[in-house]
């Protein structure tokens, strides 16, 4: 296959792209008792997918992505708590809007910097929001957050299922699917291609006259909005929101999920979130310290040897067996 053919083909749907969705629906029937956990996995996939846009495609290294997850989570929480606005889908849109506006505003100023300064600024933005949520207790519930929120019926038909989380699971799956379609279209558009160009060779993109910064700001905004949707789903599915939705641990956590799966590959978020969360579910409760040690060693090994995560490893194995060793 020539390079031109490969480029022209790669946006086409592949047969294996149906697998995650088939698996998700199969899980719905196969594990009816684990759907609460399943919904968390789907939400994490969406969050990691949003990070993949900035980190994997645009190459912007951020430690503050949880700011947008938290903004979305608090938006639906506060709307339900103070205005009694419990309609879920408009809540998702509002969360996307709020997180997107924060992403746009912070992106416009932050993305002028790079390197350590950018890393620090994203961290500071998130810390500001975290402290704001902590201080504004009248609005946000402060340290304890907002427990016991309840939301209206999805589409006016399906009420949230507090026992088995069936509707939450399908709702999160539908939201993930829609967001994924948007991300996939974006990534394979000319806009997505130019982002990859910015990541791979900033100097050259400037030289050919690409509007580098505006593209970065735009992708940052879209990514923030998607992270906001993930946060809103979190609040709606769990019926609570607290300070844990913001903070360094959630930012680092989603980054780890994405890296282990493989970044800049769309499906890395799926593989990473599923593998990480299932392992965490099994191991972390029983052996928390050993789990942390294992995650740490894995990260060190990934950074040193397997920079492209699980998907990257599968790809290089496939290449090797196909005899196209590169």
């Amino acid at each position: 296959m020539t390079a031109a053919e490969e480029l022209a083909r790669r946006h086409r749907l592949q047969w294996w792209e149906a697998l995650p969705w088939i698996a998700s629906i199969a899980c719905f029937f196969a594990f009816p008792n684990y759907l609460a956990f399943g919904a968390q996995v789907l939400i994490t996939i969406l969050f990691a997918l949003s990070l993949d846009l900035v980190l994997g495609y645009a190459g912007i290294v951020t430690l503050g992505h949880a700011a947008f997850f938290g903004a979305g989570a608090y938006t639906v929480g506060m709307m339900a708590m103070h205005w009694g606005w419990t309609e879920p889908i408009s809540g998702l849109l509002a969360a996307a809007l709020v997180a997107g506006v924060i992403g746009l505003a912070s992106g416009l100023v932050l993305l002028r910097t790079h390197g350590l300064t950018l890393l620090m600024l994203t961290l500071c933005t998130m810390a500001l929001l975290e402290q704001g949520a902590n201080m504004g207790a009248a609005w946000t519930g402060g340290f304890d957050g907002m427990p016991g929120l309840s939301f209206g019926k999805i589409l006016g038909l399906f009420s949230f299922d507090v026992l088995y989380y069936r509707s939450q699971y399908l709702y999160a799956l539908a939201a993930l699917f829609l967001c994924f379609v948007i991300v996939r279209m974006l990534v394979y558009s000319s806009f997505g291609q130019s982002l990859t160009g910015v990541r791979e060779n900033l100097l050259r993109m400037h030289a050919v006259g690409a509007p580098v910064r505006m593209r970065q700001v735009l992708v940052y905004t879209v990514s923030a909005a998607l992270a906001g949707v993930a946060g809103a789903l979190f609040t709606q599915a769990n019926g609570y929101v607290n300070l844990a939705v913001l903070g360094l641990e959630r930012s680092a956590g989603v980054m780890i999920v994405l890296i282990l799966g493989g970044y800049g590959r769309l499906y890395g978020a799926f593989v990473g979130a599923f593998a990480y969360m299932v392992l965490e579910h099994v191991l972390a409760k029983a052996y928390p310290t050993a789990w942390q040690l294992g995650v740490g060693l894995t990260l060190v090994a990934v950074a040193l040897f397997a920079r492209n995560g699980v998907i990257g490893m599968i790809e290089s194995l496939r290449r090797r067996f196909a005899g196209q060793g590169r």
Partner: protein
């Protein structure tokens, strides 16, 4: 509390920040390596110091030397074996690697020593109060201020007046140029890395009184160390010193007057400051 004692308390806290962060500033300035595990070396040093005092009965100053030596040795091994492979890697790989290293450090300490907070038993001559004539203040805080200032002066002299210092400055300003003039930047880096980690280790022990010492230490204070370094400017010892004192005092004052969310102002100020001066207090544009 009157103004002077608040200032002294803040400056003492700032000194601890300075002692821990100064190595990070130099190594980041020298290699552009985003080392998020630096606080981990401070923690390991703190543990070496506390445990050697507890189990072997080492006196406090000897324990500080011991902590410095142990952590400097560990950091040389890590630098040669692992860090050196990632100098040319992307920022993302460096961030991942060092976050992984922090996790490994936290977990190892939790497994080996336990999750509880460690306390430093200060020797008799550092406890109690000292009368300075115009004010009576905690001896230990005053000792911290003296130690931090002494370290600042020593580092400044080392940087400005010695050959190695001149090489480090040259490499921070323009690594390629320094290399082509025959400076062995790799070896220089190993040396400064060991020195910086060792000083951080001493800071971990000295600061245990103020910052506490438990396995979560490297993550809890990560943002503070990074703020000090980026506000001070990469590779600038004096910049880190002033930034550390500034943030120490601000944090101390804000915690007294706005106990709820005083840190918010520090983040906000850092944000505004870095947007206006991304190269830090004294950094030059070329260094970043």
């Amino acid at each position: 509390m009157d103004v002077i004692s608040i200032l002294l308390g803040g400056i003492a806290a700032g000194m601890v920040l300075f002692i821990v962060s100064v190595g990070l500033s130099v190594t980041m300035g020298l290699m552009g390596f985003v080392n998020l595990a630096h606080g981990g070396f401070a923690m390991l040093g703190g543990y070496a110091i506390v445990l050697s005092m507890k189990h072997w009965g080492l006196p406090f100053p000897a324990a500080l030397v011991f902590g410095f030596a142990v952590v400097a040795a560990i950091s040389v091994v890590l630098e040669r074996l692992l860090y050196a492979r990632l100098y040319l890697a992307t920022e993302l790989d460096q961030v991942l690697f060092t976050i992984g290293l922090v996790f490994v450090m936290i977990a190892s300490v939790t497994l080996g020593v336990g999750p509880e907070t460690q306390t430093v038993v200060l020797p008799e001559w550092l406890r109690g109060q000292t009368d300075l004539g115009f004010i009576t203040y905690r001896t230990y805080s005053l000792a911290l201020i003296v130690a931090g200032t002494a370290l600042m002066v020593a580092l400044w002299l080392g940087f400005e007046r010695t050959r190695i210092g001149a090489r480090i400055r040259a490499a921070v300003d323009n690594r390629r140029m320094a290399q082509s003039m025959g400076v062995d930047v790799g070896r220089l880096f190993t040396l400064t890395f060991a020195l910086g980690s060792g000083i951080a280790a001493v800071g971990g022990g000295l600061g245990a009184e103020i910052l506490g010492l438990d396995p979560q230490y490297p993550l809890r204070y990560l943002a503070y160390f990074l703020i000090v370094v980026s506000v001070g400017g990469l590779g600038r010892v004096s910049g880190v010193f002033f930034a550390a004192v500034l943030i120490g005092v601000l944090d101390f004052v804000l915690k007294i007057y706005f106990p709820k969310g005083g840190t918010m102002f520090i983040y906000a100020l850092t944000l505004v400051f870095l947007l206006a001066r991304p190269q830090g207090l004294f950094g030059s544009k070329g260094a970043s």
